[in-house]
């Protein structure tokens, strides 16, 4: 895993030993391993969706509207988890839906990590008015409840999955900026930084090569936790109708379309939500394990 290689860079110890040590702590947490396995399954579903899914997510079977799951009365073995109101196979839609949730989460985290680390690192290293400006800006973003801010941003950008991704990323940036800045400020005073400065390292080298790697552990944990929240938020915006647009099989969007059938067809409501819950839970379990493995100080409290 890429996170493991990062730890080895931090420790400075031989890479294989660091990976072994990381895995030792990580695998001690049974929940984390279960989470990792489940996330692996979801990733496989997303990548190999056309191979796994029995049907296309948009294919409508006009003779099979709201067919219950196979184990219910009236269920059909053609549709394991039943069909929705326009006769689409729910299982296929869920499998394809994993693509949107995971991809959206990855893009959001990539956007927030790069901008958050960039701003936080510069603010923490340069200090002065730049730091004040950045931190006040982050305060402004934090003062508006995240979902509301995302909604307002999506209104400006126009509804759609991409707008939702950008909007959610903006609401996450302050957490990364604050975390990076705090880490950088405490690290910048360490002796090894002074040593490399004395040795003639330039500003950029000090920031990126000396300081940054030592700030990564909490950022990785925060990124994992934000990854799970971002899946929730993408689904929430989809549910509110401003995220992914129909007929995209995005999980939140599926729930929104299923709302009017909650009294008649429980399965159209239950499964998309369950997919969201289990994926988010699995990532959070993994995040707990990562925290234990990467940050021995705050372990198992």
């Amino acid at each position: 895993m890429s996170t493991a290689t990062t730890t080895s860079d931090i420790g400075g110890s031989p890479r294989t030993r660091a990976i072994a040590e990381f895995w030792h702590y990580f695998s001690e947490n049974k929940g984390a391993v279960v989470g990792l396995c489940f996330v692996g399954i979801v990733i496989c579903c997303a990548i190999f969706a056309p191979l796994i899914a029995p049907y296309s997510p948009e294919e409508q079977f006009r003779d099979y509207f709201l067919v219950p799951p196979v184990w219910e009365d009236g269920g059909s073995s053609m549709f394991l988890l039943g069909t929705d109101a326009v006769g689409r196979d729910i299982l296929s839609r869920l499998i394809y839906g994993a693509r949107y949730s995971l991809a959206a989460g990855c893009v959001i985290i990539a956007l927030t990590l790069t901008s958050g680390i960039g701003l936080g690192l510069t603010a923490g290293y340069v200090r002065g008015w730049f730091e004040v400006l950045v931190m006040r800006l982050m305060d402004i973003i934090l003062s508006v409840p995240s979902l509301l801010l995302a909604l307002v941003l999506v209104t400006v950008l126009g509804p759609g999955l991409f707008s939702a991704i950008v909007a959610i990323a903006v609401t996450y940036v302050p957490h990364f900026v604050r975390l990076t800045r705090a880490q950088v400020i405490s690290e910048a005073q360490r002796d090894y930084v002074t040593a490399s400065r004395v040795a003639g390292a330039g500003t950029l080298r000090l920031m990126v090569i000396a300081i940054l790697p030592n700030c990564m552990a909490p950022l990785i944990v925060q990124a994992t936790m934000s990854f799970s929240t971002s899946i929730l938020d993408v689904a929430a915006l989809g549910f509110l109708g401003v995220g992914a647009q129909p007929p995209t099989p995005e999980w939140g969007r599926m729930l929104a379309e299923a709302r009017e059938f909650i009294t008649r067809a429980w399965w159209v409501v239950t499964f998309p939500g369950l997919a969201i819950l289990l994926t988010v839970l699995a990532i959070n379990l993994m995040g707990d394990g990562l925290r234990d493995a990467l940050d021995p100080k705050m372990k198992r409290s």
């Binding site: 006040r136 800006l137 409840p145 509301l148 379990l285």
Partner: protein, 337 residues
């Protein structure tokens, strides 16, 4: 302490001004002509257009537009809704009690369940209860609350028929609402049926909205108490023969309170965000539903005003939390901040 509070207030002001700039920019950044957007769906005549442009100051340079906007804002004028023609502030005040009531109940629920659960889990660390609680709370934390709300409706309203599906109270009850909080007003009206109706409408939304804060509070309380239990003075107290529960009651809980107050403060923003989803699902006539409806209806004046008001409330609550934090934590009180 005075200095500490003053410092916090001073830090809030630039943030608040920043929020007004964001809200001001919002209408001007929307795709399309802001005047046509503000005029609503019906479109406007040439004459009305210039009149509107002058009214909102769109014919002036940007910085003057902002000054006009701020001038109005400081007089409590956030503009009028283009759908109802009502002042935004009036609409906000009419709906705020509904959200406040829901949030209070959700928070109470989260505290009543989360706090003791966290304490018990910390004291009985490593037991079955502890593991179960940690799993349940992580599940709660991972819960998509819009789905959770729908599940609650399916189970308690559709299948069991115990609770109503939506709204704040049955249409059959009428009484004066001096506080705007339905349960309290119903109680004072002396109509027991009304009170019961209000309460039964409140239960499911409160559970939906309170789930995430509950999970967070339980987890944070647990780790805060575990941390305190590891301190030397606790070991001394143990050595003197004081029982575990007594130690928790006397020492640990009080010190863990600092963490808990912070968590509660942080959850206020979360509650508002959650209120948007919860109120949408349960047709709860509060701020969250008002905002999302205004976005759907393109009533951007309302969105702009609501943004400022909500951010203002969140900031005030954070200030209060900071103040309480200073009160219970002497270390902060005595540092020159």
């Amino acid at each position: 302490m005075f200095r500490y509070t003053l410092n916090k207030v001073a830090l809030t002001i630039p943030t608040l001004i920043g929020v007004t700039i964001v809200a001001f920019a919002f209408i001007r950044l929307l795709p399309g002509d802001p005047i046509l957007l503000l005029a609503g769906e019906r479109g406007v005549t040439e004459e009305r257009y210039t009149q509107l442009a002058a009214q909102f100051g769109f014919d002036q340079p940007l910085w003057q537009q902002y000054l006009i906007f701020m001038g109005n804002l400081l007089q409590g004028d956030l503009g009028n809704s283009f759908v109802t023609k009502q002042p935004v502030l009036t609409e906000f005040l009419a709906r705020f009690p509904a959200t406040l009531e829901l949030s209070i109940f959700a928070m109470l629920l989260a505290l009543i369940v989360g706090l003791p659960a966290g304490v018990i889990a910390a004291v009985r660390r490593g037991t079955f209860f502890d593991h179960t609680l940690m799993t349940v709370s992580l599940t709660g934390y991972s819960m998509p609350i819009f789905w959770w709300g729908l599940l609650l409706i399916i189970l308690f309203s559709s299948i069991l028929g115990w609770t109503p599906v939506s709204g704040r109270i049955s249409v059959m009850y009428f009484f004066d609402m001096p506080t705007g909080l339905m349960t309290i007003d119903a109680l004072f009206s002396g109509d027991k049926g009304a009170f019961r109706s209000a309460l039964s409408h409140l239960i499911l939304p409160s559970i939906a909205l309170g789930t995430i804060p509950m999970a967070v509070i339980a987890r944070q309380t647990r780790s805060a108490i575990l941390e305190v239990l590891g301190e030397d003075y606790i070991r001394t107290a143990r050595a003197k023969g004081i029982s575990a529960w007594r130690i928790v009651g006397l020492h640990a809980l009080r010190n863990a309170l600092i963490t808990v107050v912070t968590v509660i403060g942080l959850q206020v923003g979360v509650l508002f965000a959650g209120a948007i989803l919860t109120e949408t699902i349960f047709a709860w006539p509060g701020i969250g539903k008002w905002m999302i409806d205004s976005i759907y209806r393109r009533d951007y004046q309302v969105v702009q005003g609501g943004l400022i008001l909500i951010a203002g409330i969140v900031m005030i609550v954070n200030l209060i939390v900071d103040f309480l934090y200073g009160l219970i934590n002497p270390r902060i009180r005595h540092t020159r901040g």
